[in-house]
C-alpha cells in the first residue's frame, strides 16, 4: 500500500469563487421554480382527468392569493431562467459555423432572445384565439 497522499484540491464552495459561477448557479437555481411550476401544471392535468368537480377545485385553488403570489415569483424566476438560458448559449452550445465562419456570440444570443419573444407572442395569440 502506497503511503503517498496526493493533493486533492478541495471543491467546497467552488461556485462562490468566481462571479460568473455565482451567476450560473443562480440560473441553475431558478430551474427549481421551473420544476415547481411544471408540477403545478401536472397536478392541474390530473385534476382535469378526475372530472369537473376536481378541475373546478384546482381552478379555485389557483385563485387563492397565495397561489397568485407564487405565480408572480415563478414568473420572475422563469423569465430570468429563459433570459440566462440564451445568454449562456455561446458557452453551452458547440460553435455554429455558417459559410465557414463562426457565428458571433452576440448574434447567437440575440437570435435566441428574438425566438423566445416570438414564441411567447405566438403562444399568447393561440390561447387568446381559444379563449375568444
Amino acid at each position: 500500500v502506497s503511503k503517498r497522499r496526493p493533493y486533492v484540491r478541495p471543491m467546497d464552495g467552488w461556485w462562490k469563487k468566481n462571479p460568473f459561477y455565482v451567476e450560473y448557479m443562480v440560473h441553475e437555481g431558478t430551474a427549481l421554480f421551473v420544476a415547481a411550476y411544471a408540477i403545478t401544471l401536472l397536478v392541474g392535468l390530473i385534476r382535469l382527468g378526475q372530472g369537473e368537480a376536481a378541475w373546478n377545485g384546482w381552478l379555485a385553488a389557483m385563485q387563492n392569493p397565495l397561489a397568485i403570489v407564487c405565480h408572480l415569483a415563478v414568473l420572475v424566476a422563469v423569465a430570468y431562467h429563459a433570459f440566462t438560458w440564451f445568454k449562456l448559449f455561446p458557452l453551452t452550445m458547440p460553435p455554429i459555423v455558417v459559410n465557414g465562419k463562426r457565428v458571433e456570440p452576440g448574434v447567437v444570443v440575440g437570435t435566441g432572445w428574438t425566438a423566445a419573444v416570438v414564441a411567447a407572442v405566438v403562444l399568447l395569440g393561440l390561447v387568446w384565439g381559444i379563449a375568444a
Binding site: L59, M62, Q63, L75, A119
Partner: protein, 46 residues
C-alpha cells in the same frame, strides 16, 4: 465489420436540452397566462 458500442449519453443530453429550450421559449408566457389571470376568468377553462 466491427461495430462499436455507441454511448447513450447524447440521447439524455438531448432530452435535457429540449426541456430547457421549451421552458425558455414558452415558460414565462405560460406562467403569465395560467397564473396572471388567476383572479379573473381562467382562459383555459373558458
Amino acid at each position: 465489420m466491427k461495430t462499436r458500442k455507441r454511448s447513450n449519453a447524447p440521447i439524455f443530453w438531448g432530452l435535457f436540452g429540449a426541456g430547457g429550450m421549451i421552458a425558455a421559449l414558452v415558460g414565462p408566457m405560460l406562467v403569465f397566462i395560467t397564473g396572471g389571470r388567476g383572479s379573473a376568468r381562467h382562459p383555459v377553462a373558458g
